[in-house]
Amino acid sequence: MNRFAFYPGCVSKGSCPELYESVEQVMDLLDIEVEELTDVGCSGAGVLTTEVSDPINARTLAKAEQMGLALMTICSTCQGVIGAAALRLQDPEYRAFINKEYLAAEGLEYKGTTEVKHFLWVLVEDVGLDELKALVRRPLEGMGFSPFYGCYLRRPADVVGRRERRTYIEKITEVLGGTVVNISGKGKCCGFPSLTINEPNALAMTAKHTGEAKDNGADAMVTPCPLCHLELDGEQTQAAAAARRTIEMPILHLPQMVGLALGLDPKGLGLGRHFVSTAKIVAQLEPVEAAVSAT
């Protein structure tokens, strides 16, 4: 049994409800027990100045610390921003400043011990690839997936930690029976941070990555970041139009891909909620002998 303090982030509770639904079902099957933090704030997503996001994230880290649990995220951006704050808060002087100026008023203190882990890392490091493989009910044979990490699960090196974390999606895809279809932009920006600021830049990035996956023969792309999903899925039609081409590349959330391989129902995993149709993916799935219920 792996236990975590769970930080679902804003988007899985907002525009990507299918991420929250699918990760809950998959966690059940993988024996991951979580206690959701419901009274903590948005990480700031790299938009807000660290002068206010560091106190907000220190508060989140302190609450997980009180529970004696590592903090699990399901969004690359939440992971990167809270992870970077946790790293800065390793500095005793800075931590003392944040504790005194911000957390003390609420009676909180952060001691600097909370580990921050993305679900992707939990799958490989805590659940384990062998355990995951043993639970596969419907191998994703004959299906090609292009990994798309989200910047914050690739860089900066000191926040991401172990270098091998940069290839976990590929490893998981193989364990689930799928084929990895590599793309050169798998660690690049999807475009989302620029969407409301410089839309042509954002759309050009989206067209480039989804177009490359299509050109390389992928059936779908898979991402551990809901912001990448919002961009690559939600903006793909506009991006393809701007690039004057057809793409139609389904984008799966990481727990959706895992859930399909574990035998879960595609509809229950929210595959019908996407902007780009996932019907072709669903049609390729082998039937599972006995329906597996996550509940």
């Binding site: 409800p17 009274d39 903590v40 704030g41 206010v52 907000i56 860089r155 900066p156 600021i197």
Partner: protein, 318 residues
């Protein structure tokens, strides 16, 4: 060691099948790629064009692609660069090529640097500590080699983006305790293709060979800009609208109201609402959005208190 340098030849027009000319040289393994090219130019072919100046990694001029990877070639020994005794040399892709492997430095970096106000404008502070100057010194290590551009996801789709090197130059002045024009500088840096167009993908930091960590410098420049009350340039108000809508949402609800942030960023209820209408309706149909009002998180009042405290703590510099 005997080596073959396969150097791209040709004029301004680039193509996937650019022709390469083979030059054979006999040099020591520790000879730099730059020195090997100079030897070719002096002894074999005076028409070969490339950039390069100091030869010791100080000027950043001799940047080019070595076996597909961007390098400052005076710091790259041929022994390390070679693959099977061959080295393929191409011009950098992020600037127009002038001839062979010579790039247009004006378009590559100088036009961008020159779009920002130059020089420290003295503010009367005569004595500064080494500690205060240390981030400035770090930024000043930049040689404008532009290797950061190789990773930059924005440059990749838009060559007009100012890029990490030019923005690092702005950082150098804004964080100099002797400079009195910080606010004007962050406004300049905040225009379209400037600091708010950075997608903080951290690629620049991954690529910089001089440990300047340019993405961090850009993010610190944004933090300082916000502290100075500047959240965009004068010509791209949507950057400030996005910041303010995001901040309001987290401050008052504890978490993000994505619908409202998008609508406000695109210009408010009417303009933003119209722009978001097709996406919103599609999201409603798919159950990705609802029409319920955005609810406060249970910890919203505590988050709001953190914002109030943040304003008090940072008030002195506003």
């Amino acid at each position: 060691m005997e080596l073959t340098l396969n150097v791209r030849r040709g004029g301004t027009r680039r193509s996937a099948d650019d022709s390469h000319q083979a030059y054979h040289v006999d040099v020591e393994p520790e000879t730099s790629v730059f020195e090997a090219l100079v030897k070719v130019r002096e002894e074999q072919d005076g028409t070969l064009a490339f950039r390069g100046n100091c030869g010791v990694g100080f000027c950043g001029d001799c940047t080019m692609l070595v076996n597909g990877r961007q390098e400052v070639v005076c710091l790259m020994p041929v022994g390390k660069a070679q693959k099977d005794d061959e080295i393929k040399i191409d011009p950098i892709p992020y600037a127009p090529t002038v001839k062979d492997v010579m790039y247009d430095a004006k378009r590559f970096i100088w036009d961008k640097v020159n779009s920002f106000s130059p020089g420290v404008v003295f503010n009367g502070v005569e004595q500064v500590t080494e500690e205060e100057l240390s981030p400035v010194r770090r930024a000043m290590r930049c040689t404008m080699c532009g290797i950061c551009d190789q990773g930059c996801t924005v440059i990749d789709v838009n060559l007009d983006f100012k890029g990490p090197a030019a923005l690092n130059k702005v950082f150098r002045y804004v964080f100099d305790p002797r400079d009195g024009r910080a606010k004007e500088r962050v406004v300049e840096a905040g225009e379209t293709n400037g600091v708010w167009d950075c997608v903080h993908c951290w690629e620049a930091s991954d690529h910089c060979p001089f440990d300047i960590d340019p993405t961090h410098r850009i993010m610190e420049l944004r933090d300082r800009s916000v502290r100075l009350g500047v959240k965009s340039g004068t010509g791209n108000r949507q950057a400030a609208r996005h910041y303010n809508a995001f901040e309001r949402s987290v401050e008052h609800h504890g978490w993000l109201d994505e619908r409202n942030v998008a609508i406000q960023s695109y210009g408010g209820l009417i303009r933003g609402g119209l722009k978001m209408m097709p996406t919103g309706l599609a999201a409603l149909r798919r159950g990705k959005a609802n029409l319920l009002p955005h609810r406060k998180r249970p910890g919203a009042s505590a988050i709001k208190a953190l914002f109030a405290r943040y304003r008090e703590v940072t008030r002195t510099e506003r």
